[in-house]
Amino acid sequence: MIKDVLVIGGGIAGIQASLDLADMGIKVHLVEKLPSIGGKMAQLDKTFPTNDCAI
């Protein structure tokens, strides 16, 4: 049996870690304190150095 993994925090780091684990076939529980995931990066308009949209 493959064990589950708990990820605390749904910002860009937590999202990336969850997706990587989930794609490996591991069940992930992603806990986020706020009503929506996204974290600080969702508050950003664009990201450097490409000026890509952050969301």
């Binding site: 925090g9 937590g14 990336q16 684990l21 706020l34 929506s36």
Partner: protein, 452 residues
């Protein structure tokens, strides 16, 4: 974000907090408190009708308190899950007042004021802590007068002003101008109210207030209590109208902020607060200056810093491009003080270390590149997880194993461990995921070995 909501292997527990952690690597027992949203997640379609009709207006934390939301809200428009949440601190119904409008308008019948917090028990092999950071509160630096001068803002606040989905729709309107604009509506309401008061007299005496007032001032009529009251009310009404006209006239002269000052190392590389370099702020300021210039081509920005740290793939080129094509001037020097000049313009006093002179310059707006501070909840969470923090309050790690905490089976990534930018956070997250996967799969390997 959307992928997380859809992935069959991800159990998304938003609006939840970890309460207890027991056990060891390969075998942790976790309890999670899933806070009551007072909205049934499986019924809510995310149509937003409840937020439209909710009468309670609350300051919007997602927009850095520059805008407002309702007591029933989506944290932000594209948020996942798209379910609405009722804010128990502000909702009228949940605070014993009569309301329940959201429940009446909700066609999916998703509003449930009786919802309770749920305690969930999980069994996991490994834990990844990606708790993030907090923006340093610059009001701790008295000489920058953040909050005293309205047009001194943090980089995150400016980010919301630049965002098309932000409170100004992407216009770099100054907070002082926004505050003045916000004064129009209450004034108009006051005028409407005073008009209603005047109408009562007009009906009673069958003439307009203006006619009456001319007679009253010329002394043509007898002045009883009623007449005096009417005259007083009319005078008040006239002064309100005058104030509204003046305000509207002033608001017409407002435009976007075109002369911007960015101040680097606010709270970081400062021995009073955090001695470390937060790493991303130089690039963040350059990016904001470039975007502001894209929105309003006449925008000229000055970035004040001890040095500009453009360390990363394509970063130095980005910095040079900003200087060449986006109206950015880089000044080497630390800002000593910000004061307020006429028209709410912040005045920046600094030493230009290349010219060895002390100068003062007036700007439309000042943006503070605030430090990356450890997030407030991290100390409690570290206690729950049984992991150590470093001297600043970030999760303690080793140079040669940057995602391992002091507790085996618990890993850290992103700004919870140390300040870093988005690409670094993503790289570290993948690294932490791989370390956690080792444990998750190990239990499988062990079992197979035992059978063999």
């Amino acid at each position: 974000m959307l992928d997380v909501g859809r992935h069959p292997n991800i159990n998304l527990l938003a609006y939840s907090e970890v309460e207890t952690v027991k056990g060891q690597a390969g075998d942790f027992k976790i309890t999670v408190r899933k806070k009551a949203r007072f909205v049934e997640e499986n019924k809510c379609t995310g149509c937003g009708l409840c937020s439209e009709k909710c009468p309670t207006i609350v300051s919007d934390a997602f927009n850095e308190d520059l805008g407002t939301r309702r007591a029933v809200y989506a944290y932000f428009a594209q948020g996942i899950p798209s379910t609405r949440t009722i804010d128990p601190d502000h909702c009228r119904q949940l605070n014993g007042k009569k309301c329940g409008i959201c429940a009446k308008v909700c066609q999916a019948e998703a509003i449930n004021f009786d919802q309770k917090d749920q305690i969930l028990e999980l069994e996991v092999g490994a834990v990844i802590l990606a708790g993030g950071y907090d923006v340093f509160d610059p009001s701790q630096i008295p000489e920058y007068r953040y909050r005293e001068i309205p047009n001194v803002v943090t980089a995150m606040e400016f980010e919301r002003l630049l965002s098309a989905s932000g409170p100004t729709g992407g216009h770099t309107d100054r907070p002082s101008d926004l505050a003045m604009k916000a004064g129009i509506e209450p004034l108009e309401k006051k005028i409407k109210k005073s008009l209603r008061g005047l109408e009562k007299f007009e009906k009673q005496y069958n003439r307009t207030s203006k006619e009456f007032y001319t007679q009253y001032t010329s002394g043509d009529i007898e002045k009883d209590d009623d007449q005096n009251k009417w005259a007083n009310q009319y005078e008040e009404h006239l002064s309100l109208l005058e104030a509204l006209d003046a305000l509207k006239e002033k608001v017409k002269t407002f435009g976007p902020a075109k002369r911007l000052a960015f101040i680097q190392c606010v709270g970081s590389r400062d021995f009073r607060f955090y001695p470390f370099c937060s790493g991303y702020c130089c690039m963040h300021s350059i990016k904001e200056a470039i975007i502001a210039n894209e929105h309003e081509p006449e925008t000229a920005s000055t970035i004040f810093g001890m040095d500009i740290r453009a360390v990363g793939k394509g970063f130095e080129e980005y910095k040079i491009r900003g200087g060449n094509t986006s109206g950015i001037t880089y000044v080497r020097g630390r800002v000593a003080e910000i004061t307020e000049g006429s028209g709410h313009n912040p005045i920046v006093t600094y030493e230009d270390t290349r010219e060895r002179t002390v100068k003062s310059e007036d700007f439309d707006m000042v943006i503070l590149a605030t430090a990356c501070a450890p997030t407030k909840g991290i100390a409690d969470l570290a206690k729950i997880l049984g992991i150590a923090l470093d001297d600043y309050g970030f999760v303690k790690t080793d140079f040669l194993s940057p995602v391992d905490t002091t507790m085996p089976g618990i890993f850290v990534c992103g700004c919870a461990g140390s300040p870093m930018d988005v690409p670094e956070s993503v790289a570290q997250a993948s690294s932490a995921a791989e370390r956690a996967a080792e444990i998750a799969f190990q239990s499988d390997v062990e079992k197979e070995t035992a059978i063999a």
